[in-house]
């Protein structure tokens, strides 16, 4: 008997979260822009104020990454996101007079957000804010490794949203994620769009769900440093990026491709910033640790360079931030040419920029199609040639990729969800931003010149909520005193701690009534 019910434990309630999210989304879709922005700003403030709290929690819970870097990501994904989109309007209908078109925004509705263990809270922050900016409800399903910090964060954001006037249920979170549960939610017709950030299986499952999905593929980022690069600056950027959060972002650099003529100088520059160049023998030991039997060992994810070096019995200077692992050619059977979510950077020397471009292309043939690439160069032609050749949808130039490709330090959209497009089996070719969570109803007038587009000036079909959404149910014959009493009674019910309060209210009500009865 136990087996029959435990298999699907939690699934029905999770489906009910989608149902409630549907109610919240329907209500939220009628909010005006000022209310939406007030909610988003309030949520971002709470998120930012807890950036450190959740950064520490995430590292403690997952064992991945670097607290100070997660703090930064949490700040970027809270205040940073709202700053980036404050001047955008995803709410108010707009008119394109030239096209004789009125456009009315239609939020997706219920967003099912799958968040990863690698960037757990920052992804929760980011997706929640993108959903709120576009008047969507969101149900967060965190990675099981990071479920506690993510659930707590999502709940804090949801409370902040409701406190700022958002509909109840606009942000919900699955406390106990499991594969059958996530599968049930992804295939549920109440899910309007899945935004899947995580490993390949979960992204493929999202696309296989039958529901609209935005899922992204893995990265494997080549970084080309040509002879024209500002080596000092490039080295500093590259090491900082590779060390950032111990390479846990999918945008982190995987393989350095460097022109021979500057390679030695470049490596010396990198060493100044904390790179440690491995000898061939050390490289082999590190390869065995990170790719035992040729397969990436996930226990190395987000671990620092010293830990990995120690596991490989490689002695490194105390201030080592990344390990530089040279190999000869970017081929599939070379494990170090694959994605590495840890501060180990492969390195291939090439005779010239053209060969470097082909090597970068080879790196992306192995993995990371559609994702990100980097070039450090002052030669515009090389940049153009590189961009045209590498099968990715964003190329960071003279910037670190970990944050640069994620839209921090470049003008790409700030995000934790990097679209890999058709190249990378994704429906999304850009960094995820609010516009991807809203459709627009196009109200198209005839091209006939006799048909004139009217002015829609001042017409906004949305409004600010004037009470809690949903309002607390009151009897239709309620008076002011019943309203006060019932909302207090109601708010307290089911909560043992408020018995005294209820008793007190009851006493007050009785006194009031006694007075009335006695006239």
């Amino acid at each position: 008997m136990k087996e029959a019910t435990s298999e699907t434990a939690g699934v029905p309630r999770a489906r009910q979260m989608l149902e409630l999210a549907g109610w919240a989304a329907a209500a939220f879709a009628r909010y005006d822009r000022a209310s939406v922005m007030r909610i988003a700003e309030a949520v971002a403030r709470v998120a930012e104020s807890k950036a450190e709290h959740y950064a520490e929690w995430a590292v403690r819970e997952t064992g991945f990454g670097v607290v100070e870097h997660k703090v930064l990501k949490n700040q970027l994904c809270s205040r940073g996101v709202v700053d980036a989109y404050r001047d955008h309007d995803y709410v108010t209908p707009r008119v394109d007079a030239d096209a004789k078109m009125l456009e009315v925004p239609r939020p997706a509705g219920v967003v099912l957000a799958l968040t990863p263990s690698t960037n757990p809270v920052s992804t929760v922050y980011c997706k929640v804010l993108l959903a709120l900016l576009t008047r969507n409800a969101i149900v967060v399903s965190p990675h099981p490794f990071a479920k506690e910090c993510c659930a707590d964060a999502a709940r804090a954001l949801g409370e902040a949203a409701v406190a700022a006037g958002a509909p109840d249920g606009v942000v919900q979170v699955i406390d106990e994620p499991s594969i059958p549960l996530i599968d049930a939610l992804m295939t549920d017709e109440r899910t309007n769009v899945i935004v899947a950030t995580g490993g390949v299986p979960v992204v493929r499952a999202a696309y296989g769900s039958g529901n609209p999905a935005i899922g992204v593929g893995p990265g494997n980022v080549p970084v080309l440093v040509d002879a024209t690069a500002d080596l000092q600056r490039a080295a500093e950027k590259l090491v900082a990026s590779k060390a950032f959060d111990n390479s846990i972002l999918c945008t982190n650099e995987s393989v350095l491709v460097v022109e021979d003529s500057v390679a030695d100088r470049f490596v010396r520059e990198m060493e100044r910033h904390g790179a440690h160049l491995l000898t061939a023998e050390e490289r082999d030991r590190v390869r065995d640790v990170v790719f035992p039997e040729g397969r990436f060992d996930t226990t190395t994810v987000g671990k620092d360079a010293a830990t990995i070096a120690a596991r490989a019995q490689v002695r490194v200077p105390a201030r080592t931030r990344i390990l530089l692992a040279p190999f000869d050619s970017a081929v599939d059977e070379e494990p170090l040419a694959h994605e590495k979510l840890c501060p180990v950077l492969g390195m291939v020397r090439v005779p010239n920029a053209q060969r470097g471009i082909r090597t970068a292309v080879a790196v992306l043939r192995i993995g990371g199609a559609g994702h990100s690439a980097v070039i450090h160069s002052r030669n515009a032609e090389t940049v153009m040639a590189y961009a045209a050749a590498v099968r990715v949808l964003r190329v960071a130039v003279n910037e670190g990729s970990s944050t640069g490709s994620a839209g921090f330090g470049t003008h790409l959209a700030p995000t934790m969800t990097i679209g890999t497009g058709f190249l990378g089996r994704s429906s999304l070719g850009e960094n995820l931003e609010p516009k991807h969570l809203v459709n627009w109803t196009r109200v198209a007038y005839s091209t006939d010149p006799a048909e004139v587009l009217p002015s829609f000036e001042g017409m906004v079909p949305w409004e600010a909520p004037f009470e809690a959404v949903p309002p607390y149910p009151m009897p239709s014959n309620a008076t002011v005193s019943t309203l006060t009493a019932m909302s207090s009674n109601g708010a307290g019910s089911g909560d043992g701690g408020s018995i005294e309060l209820r008793e007190e209210l009851r006493r007050l009500i009785l006194e009031e009534l006694t007075a009335i009865v006695r006239g």
Binding site: E19, P470, S493
Partner: protein, 438 residues
Amino acid sequence: MSFDYGDFSYASKAEMLEKSREFWNPGKTDFWVDAGVPLVIDRREEYYLYDMSGKRLLDVHLNGGTYNLGHRNVEVVQAVTAATAHFDIGNHHFPSLARTALAEALVTSAPPGITKVVYGSGGGEAIDIAIKTARHTTRKRKIVSIIKAYHGHTGLAVATGDDRFSKLFLSDQPEEFPHVPFNDLGAMEEVLRGGDVAAVLIETIPATYGFPLPDPGYLESVKRLCERYDALYIADEVQTGLMRTGELWAITKHGICPDILVTGKGISGGMYPISAVLVTERAAGWLTEDGFGHISTFGGAELGCIAGLKALEICSRTETRSMVHYISDLIGRGLREIQSQYPDWFVGIRQHGVVIGLEFAHPQGAKFVMRSLYENGVWAIFSTLDPRVLQYKPGILMRPQLCEDLLDRTEVAIGQARSRLPRTDRHTSPRLRTAVPA
């Protein structure tokens, strides 16, 4: 078209109705045919019923909240089905696994002061238990209820209700069961003043009377009077409990901690009959003095307890509570809009959460609306004891689209009923003028 249900079958709906008349209940069978609601419920799922003809109906009768969670709610079905691999009805004499588990869950959910649970197999039996409990506790016999009240049809319960159902069986007992008008505190105090009343029994919102809402402060004052004259307060929460007012028990919204609280209908999940009487320690004395004082073979049947545990858990979820608030708001706004179109016909909305009564300006108004709704694919029933009022009881897990659909159909039906009223009225069968229980 034949109708094969495995162990039995009918050649046609007509044959089924004929047999229903012959072997079961000719009065009821004919009543519905004459009322223009020739419904024989066949398939059922979510909030839909399907007549044998295949006609689909959105159910906002819900048998008084029995189908709060929808018909054959997947979670309840799963729980009960799984339980049949281990449990049956159980033996009512012994300490029982499932009875104890549900009792603990009910006590935990209940207003402060409730400490024990007694089980029945239906609402009437539960009311009988509540009355017996009050009499044992106070050593007094009188039970006060509301004129036009409805608390079931068992021996004691039937005497608390409208005499239509008691006199038929020579079961009215006016001496021990005085009835007072609703919302009349003077009458209530008058009857309590003698100090010989064991309990006041009152539905938090009287359902079968068309959900007249208690005046602000009325129930609170009744409770105070009960305390003054040493009578117990029995809250009949059969129709108002289980989140229908947006809190698990409506009585808590009045700040009242009843001495006895009765639940039934919805607690079964619509899948296995069960009812429960929740009592305070003061009223629980007989359970220690003579635990065998009330015996019921099916009362608290263990499969019913399993259904009850699941139904209570679903009703208690924060998601459910929030959804009821949304549903109540959407339906309330929609009804007020419809009312603004027909202010002379659709004259009142009595609403508390999804407990809703719609008043029409005709003594039998709700019967016409019921019929129009039926034609428009909605099943809602008039109030037996006040047929001006339609009982309109949306489920607590309704989807937004379903609510919108319901409102659209309701708007059309109310308009149709109004336009037909004079002629339909003239041709109304005399039978339609008799009332049936909800």
